[in-house]
Amino acid sequence: MSTFMLSALPFYPLVSFILLITLGKRLSWQQASFLSVGAMALSAISSGVLVYQLSQSNMHVFTAQLWSWFSLKSNTGTTDVNFTFYLDALSSVMICVVTGIGFLIHLFAAVYMKSDENFSRFMAYMNLFIVAMLILVLADNLVLLYLGWEGVGLCSFLLIGFWYQEKGNVLAARKAFIVTRIGDTAMAIGLFMLFKSLGQLNIVAVSEAAQASWQVGNNDAYWIALLLLGGAVGKSAQLPLQTWLPDAMAGPTPVSALIHAATMVTAGVYLIARMHGVFLLAPEVMQYVAWVGASTLLLAGVAALVQTDIKRVLAYSTMSQIGYMMLALGAGAWSAGVFHLMTHAFFKALLFLTAGAVILALHHQQNLFRMGGLLKRLPVESTLFIIGLICLMALPGTSGFFSKEAIIAELWSSSTAGPSLWWCAIIGALLTSIYSCRLFFLAFLGKERFETQLHIEKSKLLRMSLIILAALSLLGGLISLNLQEVFAVVSTKVVNMNEPSWLHTVAILTPFIGIAFSWFFFSRYRLGENNEIVAKQNSIYKFLRNGLGFDTLYQWLLIRPYCFIAKLNQRDIIDQVIMLNAWYVRLWHDTLSMTQNGSLRWYAAAFGLAIVCLVGVVTL
């Protein structure tokens, strides 16, 4: 029974996708939303039941083989690559997040996108995204995981560029696709190397074979882990492939919530957690993971401080929270990282959807400096947004608090992290609380800086999905994840390390320091005495606002030289060599066709000349 449910899980949204994409605009809004949201509800319920059954049964793992895909010959024998789903504690967390949050976001999207003329296409892509994500997290081998991985990339491309009539959206979609493709290529090479050296692709078998045949610090393990990190960095928008995420806010807001907050960007985190057996054998790469996480965390935090677009603030905050997860994984705090993944999915989905509701109320105004005073005008949305923000800031008692403190607590004494990364995490937490306060003050306090009449959406569905997410964000910290059997082998702790006693106090106090600081520093935004608050325009602000100039850097370092070479080689040089044949034939064609000039007198003369020549040759 559970096997059947497991194998059917990705098929509910898949069937819905196929129906929606084939029937398209023939479906009314009710039919399309009933189909897509219903499919999501079904998969959310069945994943809930599955996880319950998994916790009740004495097995730690459910597997369901759908069909054989292909088999590969390696030097150790043949390896079967099958369409097999594998559900353990880690993937059960992921399916709950994907289907549960996905369901709520679908519910929200059905209302949010109601008036869009391509509504059924939108819901179809959302469903397809869930299918890809489920395949990714349920895959029992790395090839199937890669299928889901690429499917997720495709869907994000389709959804970011959903409003393709505007050029900016298309460019953003293209950028997201190409940048993540760089990481995917690294990951594919990593998979090839993994198969070559171990002859295995099944995730469990790979971990066992790696533990059995490699020593810690093995060269193969180093390179494979590094390449897998490359894939994770691309998908999770970490340094240096982070540039696509802020631009990806061009998509509709539910897309931002689903793909760029709750699920897709966590795929990289999931990959590293899944392959922790390999990463443990390469402690240097674990350090890189931690440093990548920490630097992204700080960079995104700083960039979020000066954004003017409400969605871009949230985008940078997503990057920085994923940075926390990477930091946790790098430090070997696997459970804490996955826990933060889950709680972050709750509150970031809430924040994005509430921001969506606010944007909808303001007639698609996203500029923070054109908001203000919304606390009185939109009390429900404001309350929900505050809940999201306090979870993001990790105030005690919220879900973010439990997960973030769990990460920070493990950093100091981890052999692959250490005190310097602990301080990075603390500064990151400080930045988080400061930009959260700035966002809140600008949007919800002060004087109203918009002229339009508010468009109040009274839909119960919309409110309901937001309220459930808010409840999850507040109480999600009470969910205890039992990931011991997945991460059984782990201990990266340095045993003889003395932790100072003030560590936890500092970690808990940091958000409050941030709030107190911004209470005074942003008092202008908070009080909003004058009606016109404008974003500062000097060059440092611009530099920070553009994500610390990474786009410009890549523009000069990669895109310009590439375009230059492409322009130089516009007529492909290799092509020219091949074209020589064609030119040769062409030359003869031209010469011969010149003789066929259609003039009878010319033919007669040529005829006479030929006879003269012939007779001459014969007689002489």
């Binding site: 011969l592 066709s593 010149m594 003789t595 066929q596 000039n597 259609g598 003039s599 009878l600 007198r601 007669a604 003369a605 006479g608």
Partner: protein, 102 residues
């Protein structure tokens, strides 16, 4: 009747043939081209007659009658074509009929 050497006859025939050929390739008017063709045919006829008389054979004259008939038939066909050509192109200029150039 004085004997005319065969070389002289063949020389005359060659000259006539060349004149006819030059006429064919230098004239633009198709009517003149046809006339030049007749000259060429007659040049060949002269060669046949000359050869027939030199060898005292009747075959040369038979061949000439054949050529004469052929020329008559050719002129009939040629003139019919010229009428069509005149109708269609309103001219007899051969250089205007170059539509089949490559």
């Amino acid at each position: 009747m004085t004997h005319i050497p065969l070389e002289h006859v063949l020389f005359l025939s060659c000259i006539l043939f060349s004149i006819g050929f030059i006429g064919v390739i230098s004239r633009k008017n198709t009517l003149f081209m046809l006339m030049s063709l007749e000259v060429m045919l007659n040049a060949v006829g002269v060669a046949f007659i000359g050869a027939g008389s030199a060898w005292q054979q009747a075959d040369g004259q038979v061949m000439f009658i054949l050529i004469l008939t052929l020329a008559a038939a050719e002129v009939a066909v040629g003139l019919a074509l010229f009428i069509r050509m005149q109708r269609r192109y309103h001219s007899l200029d051969i250089d205007q009929l170059n539509e089949m150039r490559g």
